[in-house]
C-alpha cells in the first residue's frame, strides 16, 4: 500500500458532527473565547446535515416560565424513565432551556406565539406542559449556518471521523478523518473534542426493504458511539433502546405531538383511544405494541373528527417541516386526514437519547468518562433531550470544552496508531472481490431485528452475539470500489459495533425496565433491589467489552413514591375507554 495522503489541522476545540448539537457546541465554544480555533467536522454538509436537515416542527421539551419549572420537568422525565436518570444533567438542561429558546429566537428561529407575542406552549406529556410548535421550523439549519459563518468557525464538510486520537496521558487529543469523496486523510490535533454524531439510527432494519428508509437520518449510524467506545469512554444504559410509533412504511413520525394539542390522538382499529397519553415513553410503547398484537390492531393516528380548518393547520405544519415528503406519501395512497385514519406501526430499534435514554455517558457538564471528551445530543446519555436538548447540552459541551482547552497542550498522535487506523480504513480498497458493505449491513441489521428487538429473549440474544462474531470476521472481506462505498464500509463497522453493544448491554441487565424498550421475557419483573442503577459499558484495558453498575446519584429534585408510578398506568381502563371516544368526538 502506498502511503496515504494525509493533511494535519490543529484546533483548540474539535466538534465532530454538524447536525444540531454540534453547530451549537462550536458556536458557544467560539463565543466563550473568540481567540479559540474551533473546527466543526461533518460527514455530510453542515448546511443540511443531521436529524433536523429539513427543520423541526416544534420543541417537545420547552421549559418556559409560566408553563413549567425546571423542577417539574426533571420530575416528569425521572418518572418517565423509571427513575434511572442523572438528575443533575436533566436539571442543567432544564435550567438552560428558556435561555436557549431566546437565543434561538435571536438567531431568527421562529416559534409559535400568541396574539400578545408570548410563546404558545401546549400540553402533550402525561403531567406537565412543554410543547412549543414551530410552524416555520424549516429555517433552523439556515439560522445555525448563518451564525457559524458570522463567527468564522472553521467548517470541514465531507470528512468522516473514524477514530479519536488519545494523548500519551490518556486524554482525547483529536481525530483521524477520511474524505468521503476522495479517501484522503485528515489528522486533527485538538485540545478538547466534542462528539455530536447523532443517534445509532441505522441499527434495526425497516420492513420496507430500504437500508436507508430509517426513522433517523440514515447518516446517523452510530459512528459517535463506536468512536467513544474505542477511545475508552463508557456508554450508559444502551439496553434502553429507542423504538418509536411511526407512520407505517413511511417510517417518519406520525406526530401525535403536533396533532395532540389540536385534538388528534392514537387510536386502535375501532377508532378508540387505548393510551392516556401520546408522549413517547417505554411504557407507552409497551401498550402500543400490545395493541398491535391484539385484535384491535393495527394502530392509527386519528384526526377524522377534527374541523377542516384544524386539519388544514396540521397539514401545513406536518407537510412543510422535519419530514415534508410525508404529504406526498399520503397523497399517493389517498390518505386524507379528514376522512381516513393514518396507519401507524413501531419503528426498528436504535440507540438515541433524543427520545429514549441511552448513549455515551455524560454528566451535567457534558463530560464523558474520558478527559477532554464531551458529548451531546442524540448520542449522549441525557434522556428525552430532543432537539432543544441537543442545543442546550451542545452549548454546555462547547463551553466546557473551551474551558478545558485553556489548560492543556496539543499532543502529537501516536504514529503507529495512525498507521494502523489508516490501514484499517483503506483495507476494503485493496480488494477487487469480496463482500459489499450493503450485504454486510443488511445481514447485521436483519439479525438485529431477528434477535435483539424486544420482546428480548436471552437465548436469542446469545445467538445474535455468535452471528455478529462471524460477521466481524467477514469484515476482512469487505470491498469498496470508490470513496463513497468506502464510507459505507466504515459505517457498517460502526453499525456492527453498536449491534454488539446493544446485545451485551441487554444481556447484562437481568430485569425488565422502561416498558417495551427493555422488556425481557425471561426476566419480566422490574428489580429495584439489584438494578436501580445505570449500567455502563466500556472497553477495558485488554480491549474486551466490560460492564459496571453506576449508582443513581441522590436526586436533586425529590420524587414522591406515589408519583413514581404515573407512567406505569398508561393503558386506559376498559370502562373509561368505552366512554373516551364519545367524549373526544365533537
Amino acid at each position: 500500500m502506498t502511503a496515504p495522503v494525509t493533511e494535519t489541522v490543529d484546533a483548540d476545540v474539535l466538534v465532530i458532527g454538524g447536525g444540531t448539537g454540534g453547530p451549537m457546541a462550536a458556536i458557544r465554544a467560539k463565543e466563550a473565547n473568540p481567540n479559540l480555533r474551533v473546527v466543526l467536522l461533518e460527514k455530510a454538509n453542515v448546511k443540511r446535515s443531521g436529524a433536523i436537515s429539513m427543520g423541526m416542527d416544534g420543541l417537545n421539551n420547552a421549559v418556559i416560565p409560566g408553563y413549567a419549572t425546571p423542577e417539574q420537568y426533571v420530575k416528569e422525565i425521572t418518572i418517565a424513565n423509571d427513575g434511572i436518570v442523572h438528575q443533575q444533567a436533566l436539571l442543567a438542561y432544564a435550567n438552560g432551556s428558556f435561555d436557549m429558546i431566546r437565543y434561538l429566537d435571536k438567531l431568527d428561529v421562529k416559534f409559535e406565539k400568541d396574539g400578545a407575542g408570548e410563546y404558545a406552549v401546549r400540553k402533550v406529556h402525561h403531567m406537565g406542559t412543554y410543547v412549543l410548535p414551530m410552524p416555520q421550523g424549516h429555517h433552523v439549519k439556515k439560522a445555525l449556518y448563518r451564525q457559524l459563518r458570522r463567527l468564522r468557525i472553521g467548517v470541514i464538510n465531507r470528512y468522516m471521523a473514524t477514530r479519536l486520537l488519545r494523548t500519551p496521558d490518556g486524554r482525547a487529543g483529536g481525530a483521524i478523518a477520511v474524505n468521503t469523496r476522495t479517501s484522503e486523510f485528515l489528522l486533527i490535533r485538538a485540545k478538547a473534542v466534542v462528539l455530536t454524531c447523532g443517534a445509532a439510527g441505522r441499527l434495526g432494519l425497516p420492513a420496507s426493504g430500504y437500508l436507508f428508509g430509517t426513522y433517523e437520518n440514515a447518516a446517523n449510524c452510530g459512528d459517535g458511539h463506536a468512536m467513544a467506545y474505542h477511545a475508552g469512554a463508557a456508554l450508559a444504559n444502551l439496553e434502553c433502546y429507542q423504538i418509536n410509533p411511526l407512520i407505517k412504511d413511511y417510517n417518519g413520525p406520525a406526530c401525535a405531538y403536533v396533532t395532540g394539542p389540536f385534538g388528534g390522538y392514537t387510536a386502535n382499529n375501532k377508532g378508540n383511544r387505548f393510551i392516556e397519553c401520546d408522549y413517547w415513553s417505554g411504557q407507552m410503547m409497551l401498550e402500543f405494541w400490545r395493541e398491535l398484537q391484539s385484535g384491535n390492531g393495527p394502530v392509527f393516528l386519528k384526526m377524522t373528527h377534527l374541523a377542516p380548518e384544524t386539519v388544514q393547520q396540521i397539514e401545513t405544519i406536518l407537510h412543510s417541516n422535519e419530514r415534508p415528503s410525508r404529504g406526498r406519501f399520503h397523497a399517493r395512497r389517498g390518505t386524507d386526514y379528514r376522512t381516513k385514519m393514518v396507519e401507524m406501526h413501531i419503528s426498528e430499534i436504535g440507540l438515541c437519547a433524543g427520545h429514549s435514554a441511552s448513549g455515551v455517558w455524560v454528566d451535567e457538564q457534558a463530560r464523558t468518562t474520558l478527559p477532554g471528551l464531551y458529548a451531546a445530543g442524540d448520542m449522549a446519555s441525557v434522556p428525552h433531550n430532543y432537539m432543544l436538548g441537543a442545543f442546550v447540552n451542545g452549548a454546555i459541551a462547547g463551553e466546557q470544552a473551551a474551558r478545558f482547552s485553556a489548560d492543556v497542550d496539543l499532543a502529537d498522535p501516536d504514529a503507529d496508531f495512525v498507521a494502523l487506523e489508516q490501514e484499517r480504513v483503506l483495507a476494503p480498497t485493496q480488494r477487487s472481490d469480496g463482500l459489499t458493505p450493503f450485504e454486510v449491513e443488511y445481514k447485521t441489521r436483519r439479525l438485529v431485528n431477528d434477535y435483539l428487538a424486544p420482546p428480548k429473549v436471552t437465548a436469542k440474544m446469545r445467538i445474535a452475539q455468535q452471528r455478529f462474531a462471524e460477521i466481524r470476521d467477514d469484515l476482512n472481506a469487505l470491498v469498496a470500489r470508490d470513496p463513497h462505498e468506502l464510507m459505507r464500509t466504515l459505517e457498517v463497522q460502526s453499525i456492527l459495533d453498536c449491534a454488539d453493544l446493544a446485545a451485551a448491554a441487554s444481556l447484562y441487565r437481568t430485569e425488565s425496565r422502561w416498558g417495551f424498550y427493555h422488556y425481557r421475557v425471561d426476566h419480566p419483573d422490574t428489580d429495584n433491589d439489584d438494578w436501580f442503577c445505570h449500567t455502563l459499558l466500556y472497553r477495558d484495558a485488554n480491549g474486551a467489552m466490560a460492564h459496571r453498575k453506576r449508582a443513581v446519584d441522590p436526586y436533586v429534585v425529590p420524587v414522591d413514591q406515589t408519583e413514581m408510578t404515573a407512567y406505569q398506568h398508561l393503558r386506559i381502563a376498559p370502562a373509561a375507554a368505552a366512554n373516551a371516544p364519545a367524549a373526544a368526538a365533537e
Partner: protein, 77 residues
C-alpha cells in the same frame, strides 16, 4: 466472491431542461445528507447515483431552478 451490479428504480428525478449543472451548479449534490447525487459531466446535469435515499428533500427544496423532484421510493408507496 465476484461482484454484480443490479439496477434499481431511484426516487430522485432531475429535469435536464431545467438543471444548470453545466454552468457549475452543484447545490443538490452539496446538500444531500447521504451524498447520493452526482453530476453527469456528459449530460451536464445532476442525477441520483446511489440508491440510498432518505426522501428528506433538501435537494428539491434548495435547487435554484426547480429541476429536482423527490418521489416516494417504490417499495414504500
Amino acid at each position: 466472491m465476484p461482484l454484480a451490479d443490479h439496477a434499481a428504480s431511484v426516487p430522485v428525478v432531475v429535469d435536464d431542461a431545467k438543471c444548470i449543472a453545466a454552468k457549475g451548479c452543484t447545490v443538490c449534490v452539496d446538500v444531500c445528507p447521504l451524498d447520493v447525487l452526482a453530476i453527469d459531466l456528459v449530460r451536464g446535469s445532476a442525477y441520483m447515483k446511489y440508491d440510498e435515499c432518505w426522501y428528506c428533500m433538501p435537494c428539491e427544496v434548495d435547487c435554484p431552478t426547480g429541476a429536482v423532484t423527490v418521489n416516494i421510493p417504490y417499495l414504500l408507496r
